[in-house]
């Protein structure tokens, strides 16, 4: 009952979102001064050629008709054909999504592993030196221009000292493992390709860390705030008054409850991650959705931009659905009613 109450509105929202996003991007794509046909046929294309390309793209039809066709195709999972790569946008997205997901998951993992303990320590030792350090680190993370941080790290670790690779997912000369999940770290292990695994791991360290750093800041700040809230709750006082050990109070009693409001934030953090990923990928030449969409935007490849936007929005809604479900599981009050 409660589950459907949560899921159903979300699914309806999903429809809204897809439609809304489609309308918005579609409108924009028809407002732009650039002519997609000219993009395909080249700068000096003759009027005749342009006309032909336009016809092939369906651009000669009335806008409303174009939109209906687009939506119709969309419902069949067809996102159109990229003007730049001449491939179906859906195929492009399938190609690039795993790289982004892999980067995002690794970054999120790092961010959580560093951010949560830091936030907890910061709250427990509020106003102490640990807190000051943790807050400084967290504010640095939140305020860090990802693109610049990436550049600096590349300069230091790759250019100057050559400790870590600075671009791409795999080193030269290492064949890409066959694609199973699209996650190189997993695929290489599945196939026992330890060379590829090592290389993939090395390659993900810098971009993963850069992307993680900003999110770590956000997570630390959030955990600190909600820990502070929770730590002054009456039930913590009860736990202290009944002599429970400090570690138990902090981790079993306080952190647990502090995480509940943070779950929502985690959802938002995932959204931010996407934004961060776009920048990180461009810096680290990471062959993912970010690089894809930035290039698409720079070349005004609107089918690609629309496809990306729609997929990203769906992802966002789904993530939020998951977050809500997680929230529900974590909070007995919602779960049991």
């Amino acid at each position: 009952m409660a589950i459907t109450r949560i899921i159903l509105p979300r699914l309806i929202l999903l429809l809204f979102v897809v439609l809304g996003v489609a309308v918005i991007t579609f409108t924009i794509s028809h407002l732009i001064p650039g002519d997609p046909a000219r993009m395909i046929a080249g700068d000096r294309a003759s009027a005749e050629t342009l006309e032909n390309v336009r016809r092939n793209l369906g651009l000669d039809r009335p806008v409303v008709e174009q939109f209906t066709i687009y939506i119709g195709n969309l419902l069949q999972g067809d996102l159109g054909t990229s003007l730049r790569t001449n491939r179906p946008v859906a195929a492009d997205i399938r190609t690039f999504l795993p790289a982004t997901l892999e980067l995002g998951v690794v970054a999120l993992f790092i961010a959580i592993c560093l951010g949560v303990p830091l936030g907890v320590l910061s709250a427990v030792y509020k106003d102490g030196p640990i807190d000051q350090v943790a807050r400084t680190v967290s504010v640095c993370g939140i305020s860090m221009p990802v693109f610049w941080f990436g550049l600096i790290l590349i300069y230091v670790f790759y250019a100057k000292f050559q400790i870590l690779p600075g671009s791409g997912r795999l080193a030269m000369g290492i064949a890409t493992p066959e694609r199973i999940t699209g996650f190189l770290l997993i695929d290489s292990l599945l196939q026992g390709r330890f060379d590829a695994f090592r290389s993939a791991l090395y390659h993900i360290i810098l971009p993963g860390f850069v992307l993680a750093f900003a999110n770590m800041g956000v997570i630390t700040r959030q955990i600190r705030a909600s820990m502070l809230d929770v730590l002054q709750e009456d039930y913590i006082r009860t736990a202290r008054a009944s002599g429970l050990r400090k570690g138990m109070i902090i981790f079993n009693y306080a952190l647990r409850n502090a995480l509940i409001p943070s779950i929502t934030l985690l959802g938002l953090a995932l959204g931010d991650l996407l934004y961060g990923a776009v920048l990180t990928e461009t810096i680290f030449a990471w062959p993912g959705m970010g690089t894809y969409v930035v290039t698409s935007i720079q070349t005004l490849d609107f089918p690609a931009i629309m496809g990306f936007t729609i997929v990203a929005s769906i992802g966002y809604v789904l993530i939020n659905l998951l977050v809500d479900l997680a929230y529900m599981l974590a909070d007995p009050q919602i779960r049991e009613v």
């Binding site: 809204f16 939140i142 934004y275």
Partner: protein, 287 residues
Amino acid sequence: MRRTKSFSERLRYFWYLSRRSPLTLVGVAIIVLVLVMIVAAPVIAPYNPDKVSLTARLLPPSAAHWFGTDEVGRDLFSRVIFGARASCGAAFMIVLISMSVGVLIGCFSGVVGGRVDTAIMRLMDVVLALPALVLAMALAAALGPSLFNSMLAVAIVRIPAYVRLARGQTLSLREQVFVKASRTFGASPFYILRWHILPNAMSPIIVQATLDLGGVVLIAAALSFIGLGAQPPTAEWGALVSSGRSYMLDQWWYATFPGLAILITAMGCNLVGDGIRDMLDPRLRGR
């Protein structure tokens, strides 16, 4: 118990709170610095930021050029100083626009309630689900890359956050006893909005806006970095980092200083935002 604390007392109180959190003071210092940069750029900057000098290309930092020069010999220190105007001005406008629009919509939605509220919130859900940067990029791309267009895009994308915040405030304030009391006196929704909800909802919104400012400085810079924001030859931090990027190996200073400026400014906003929030938090407030 005097009615209002005197200015010096307020100052003393602020100092008292800041001593407990030196980071806030750092933030205030940064903001002041940036404001000075914005206001007094022509006085501070040693050179005309747009003055090309093909003979002084890519000079390393020196007494004459503190941050070195760029590929057409412009003084980077001056460009960073002037960049504050574009970068921070844009961020400020974005926050101002999204905050005012968002607060208006949010309060309206919360007060009116019912179907209008539902419709507005669904719309906001859609906008919220749009990948912010991408919409910004798409709009910027569509309307042509310019700082103004990206600003507009970012502002639009950030509206829902304020709508939600303001609506949440409105809804919770609506349940407050003093608002109920006002209703029993026959107050109209507009009266309640004007006298009770807006004034009381403002502080969390201001905090949010301050924190947002830090984030938006980053986004504006990021857009310029990707090439969708401020267009060269405008001096803007993100754009400077972007052009400095290809010189990273031999001319490290080019990208480093404008990036630092972004980092420090965003930090300033975040620190001050955190500080204000702590001060408004009754839990942490000294008596």
